[in-house]
């Protein structure tokens, strides 16, 4: 007998997988539903991650350290300290604010307050200090930056370092952002594991129901691929439909949540972010769905193939 082409047998496997999916509507619906929920959990985790990274970024932005200089400090001394700081690896940015600049900023900040404007005009000397504001690469490094300043040869021109006043606040913010990212990762891993296990188990039960059919196919002379192929297609179909269902629920849901969220966290636009990454999101969810379905079936069917 002439061996038929791979293309034809592939077509046959696809067709048979689709027929099985259609005929076992109930079981397919159950498996697809479970997977859709699992994938929704996955999408939810992506929202959570987006949230934590936004919040952590936002908190970290808030933290900086300023060095205030004595009024008799010369500009080149300050600039020397600035360039020293800029050579440090853990310093991201150093901003020099001269006395004049500080006054300008102060005036601008209070331009509506006539009393302050008048009192400033009365003054002969500029009462504000020159300062350097420093951003670290990582908020945990402020202590070492403060220490570096303490040991600098030009320490005498430094009046005060704001780190020591804000130390507790900085530490607390650091603590919060650290536990936020750690907790987020922990929850992500745990829930992802639950989703995978539930999906896998559903597929395993679905295939267990067909144990006898698999045995019969083998007795009629089917090779492992004849038996396995349609099941993999079926698993892939669960994954495909589940991911489409999950996306169809996810986007309206975050649209709804995003609207509510904007009122108290205006700088986090959830919906915008996920619309902007629609392609990526689609690939991740559909990809995970297909992978879960196909690999789940592959593993679940393995033990039934030894007849």
């Amino acid at each position: 007998m002439v061996e038929i082409s791979n293309k034809q047998s592939f077509k046959r496997i696809l067709k048979s997988g689709w027929t099985n999916f259609r005929r076992n509507r109930f079981m397919s619906l159950g498996a697809t539903g479970t997977m859709a929920l699992a994938l929704l959990v996955l999408s939810g985790l992506m929202v959570l991650n987006f949230f934590t990274s936004q919040t952590v970024g936002f908190l970290d932005e808030k933290v900086d350290v300023s060095v205030y200089f004595q009024n008799d400090a010369k500009e080149d001394q300050i600039l020397k300290i600035k360039s020293d700081l800029e050579e440090l690896q853990n310093v991201k940015l150093v901003n020099y604010i001269s006395q004049n600049q500080a006054l300008e900023d102060f005036k601008n900040r209070h331009q509506d307050d006539q009393l302050i404007q008048d009192s400033i005009a009365e003054l002969e000397n500029n009462p504000l200090q020159a300062s350097l504001s420093i951003k670290a690469v990582d908020p945990s490094q402020y202590a070492s930056i403060a220490q570096f300043l303490e040991s600098n040869s030009l320490k005498s021109v430094i009046d005060k370092i704001s780190f020591y006043e804000n130390e507790t606040a900085i530490n607390r913010i650091q603590g919060i952002s650290r536990s936020l990212s750690r907790g987020g990762l922990g929850v992500t891993l745990l829930l992802a594991l639950v989703a995978v296990l539930v999906t896998f188990n559903t597929i395993r039960l679905t295939i267990y129901n067909k144990k006898q059919e698999i045995e019969i196919m083998k007795l009629v002379g089917a090779t492992n691929w004849h038996v396995r192929g349609p099941f993999l297609v079926e698993g892939g179909l669960y994954g495909l439909f589940a991911s489409l269902a999950a996306l169809a629920v996810f986007y309206p849901a975050i649209h709804f949540v995003s609207g509510k969220l904007l009122s108290f966290a205006p700088n986090i636009n959830l919906f915008q972010h996920f619309i902007g990454n629609l392609g990526q999101m689609f690939l991740i969810i559909v990809g995970s769905g297909l992978a879960l379905g196909i690999f789940g079936s592959m593993i679940a069917i393995r033990r039934h193939l030894r007849v």
Partner: protein, 227 residues
């Protein structure tokens, strides 16, 4: 040609299902394998499709020692043989047509040939008008005829029937046996394992009697059911 050489099959060291079987079955023979349940008929048949392996001795099919057939080649061995079981073993999720077609898909037949051969064989077993029915919608006799159609469709050299009439009434049983007879007349070797004496006596061909894992009688012609 099928040969069994000093085949012994033991389960768990206690129970001996086959106790030194020596047997030769030529191409085109119709052999009735009789004996009470537990005599070893099913075990003998399982050896031929390598669903089970002998503890010692050799099973040879067309000069090939089945012990030498690697696991990967077992599907190809099974395609040379059509098997019919007491419990039908139909694919419940496929309809009659698809059940028969599956046996051909497995051997890699072309779609056109499958369509033609399946129609033909369903007509032979009298199920032409039930091809869209699922197994659960068929009677016992119809199920067994469908199983025969599936065993037959890829034109195997050998048909193994393990108690094919065990779940059927007398009329349906005779239908099944008549079918096997016709298949044999077209040149296919048929091995029929049964404990139904009426059927064996009707067939009247070679009868091998088994008991407790041994062959106790081998009547080469016009055999009767005798233990």
């Amino acid at each position: 040609m099928i040969q069994f050489k000093k085949v012994i099959k033991k389960y768990n060291h206690h129970f001996t299902a086959l106790d030194g079987i020596d047997l030769e079955i030529k191409d085109g023979e119709f052999v009735s394998l009789v004996g009470p349940s537990g005599a070893g008929k099913s075990t003998l048949i399982k050896m031929l499709i390598k669903e089970d392996r002998p503890s010692s001795g050799k099973v040879i099919l067309d000069e090939v020692d089945l012990a030498d057939v690697p696991d990967k080649e077992i599907p190809f061995l099974r395609r040379k043989i059509g098997t019919i079981f007491q419990d039908f073993r139909l694919l419940e999720s496929k309809n009659a047509l698809e059940n028969v077609a599956f046996a051909l898909e497995v051997v890699g037949a072309e779609d056109d040939d499958i369509a033609k051969d399946v129609e033909q064989v369903l007509a032979i077993v009298g199920l032409a008008d039930k091809k869209k029915n699922f197994p659960k919608e068929l009677s016992g006799g119809e199920k067994q005829r469908l199983a025969i159609a599936r065993a037959l469709v890829h034109r195997p050299k050998i048909i193994l029937a393990d108690e094919p009439t065990g779940n059927l009434d007398l009329v349906n049983s005779f239908d099944v046996v008549k079918l096997l007879w016709r298949i044999n007349e077209l040149g296919t070797t048929v091995i029929l394992a049964t404990h139904d004496d009426k059927i064996v006596n009707t067939v009247g061909k070679r009868v091998i009697s088994m008991d407790k894992g041994r062959i106790v009688r081998d009547q080469l012609e016009k055999g009767k059911y005798i233990i």
